[in-house]
Subunit: 267 residues, 2 copies
């Protein structure tokens, strides 16, 4: 039986999910946070659903051992590949959230016929999870999904420099994305490029950034279950399955300020 | 005790090591080959030496179970991070080869003072293994190593198109590589870009591609140990720790023709 003071577990293939963690920490400062980045297997976007699911289940067990009341899959590739398996595995031991459903729910504001683009990893696009959920709820939205596989690694490697720009332009120039009216950023890394994406589309495309709707949904779900910790300052632990200086340095970029990554083997 | 008819084991973080496997198969068609690509953990270049070593040892055990007479570490990141550990672990059960030593030995032809560049992953460059070995043997060579971390992923993602070109130009334009007379391609993926690198440097830089010197060294070592299989047509098995269509498609690019990847879990 979970209690209000149990931590929220958040996991991602690496450090990009820290954009979600940051939004959760800002919205719910009293919550204890346990973050797990599977840097030994990153990136997930190119790997098979079977491998992503196997990794996700092992991380889930680790977060359950830490008594997490909620597990947030802060990664689109894992949300599309492994959510059902994680939820089935967890049962009633904790609440499981993904990044897809809060975003899909937020699209209810688009009432008119609409051509919407989506960029994400190969796994996220191939899974068709966004396509199926959006088609079922909003038949007036035409979704075109385009894989932008290397973009997350480029952001980790170069930040927001010229190489990332030329990759981004190459991907966004694809004919599939012509005439879109809005664009879903279906990877936790992409909000870092929001300004550049806006500039590319000459401010004419509405950018849909899931990070804040995910934390709002986490907040609401905890309240509904009477599990929100109203304390003033929670503890934060950030674990990775592989530690390097580059991950520690990159983590600052996603979390907004310095944090300490602790190595904790998955296997 | 190994025998001539035992297979050669070759491993890499993924499918790039197939450039080495191809060269070995062409030079020694009678040898049985067991290839293992650790696609579940790829790329190695960003990961820590500890994680690369742990993965390499598990792959080594798997290849020893298949009675390999020789284990070829066909990956620069693993050769620089894990060679000594693999060799110590294997003991006299098999011969262990890496991709660094054959290349370093081949540099003996450069007798004059020389500014030599090297491009490779972050792990390969940070390890300083090339720097130390070259400094010890060839003090007249000044080596400048520059990490080109995203290049291998770009080759897998885009092949040889415009995005790979702009990344390559960005990397090769770095001031460190100014005025080099030769360039070591210290990653099994890079030989695919040899023509483009030649064009970038206006044919004025000598490109040092290790794939053929590694297979020549394998050949010579097997002969020295009386372990070369002179049969006419060996068997070939290609295993990966994670299977996707993209890996299968990419494998053709590196091996030159179609091959079948079999999934074989590492863990």
């Amino acid at each position: 039986m979970s209690s209000q003071t149990d931590p929220i577990g958040i996991f991602d293939s690496g450090i990009g999910g820290l954009t979600i963690a940051k939004s959760i920490v800002e919205a719910m400062p009293g919550e204890d946070i346990v973050y797990y980045g599977d840097t030994a297997h990153l990136p997930y976007g190119d790997k098979s659903p079977a491998t992503i699911t196997a990794c996700s289940l092992r991380i889930t067990d680790l977060l359950l051992q830490k008594n997490c009341k909620m597990i947030v899959i802060a990664c689109n590739s894992a949300s599309t590949a492994a959510f059902e398996a994680v939820r089935a595995h967890v049962g009633d031991r904790a609440i499981v959230m993904n990044v897809v459903d809060p975003l899909v729910a937020s699209l209810a504001v688009h009432k008119e016929p609409h051509k919407m683009g989506l960029i994400g990893t190969r796994q996220t696009v191939r899974s068709m999870v966004y396509d199926q959920k959006i088609q079922a709820l909003y038949p007036h939205i035409t979704l075109v999904s385009h894989p932008t596989n290397l973009l997350a690694s480029a952001i980790e490697e170069f930040g927001r420099n010229g190489v990332t720009d030329s990759l981004l332009s190459e991907y966004l120039s694809h004919p599939d994305l012509k005439d879109i009216q809005s664009l879903i950023l279906a990877c936790t890394h992409y909000p870092l490029l929001k300004d550049k994406i806006n500039t590319f589309f000459d401010q004419k495309v509405c950018i849909i950034d899931p990070s804040d709707v995910v934390s709002a949904s986490v907040h609401q779900t905890l309240q509904e279950h009477g599990l929100h910790n109203l304390g003033s300052m929670g503890t934060r632990h950030f674990h990775v399955s592989d530690y390097t200086d580059s991950f520690e340095k990159g983590a600052r970029m996603f979390f907004g300020h310095t944090l300490h990554l602790e190595h904790l083997a998955l296997e």
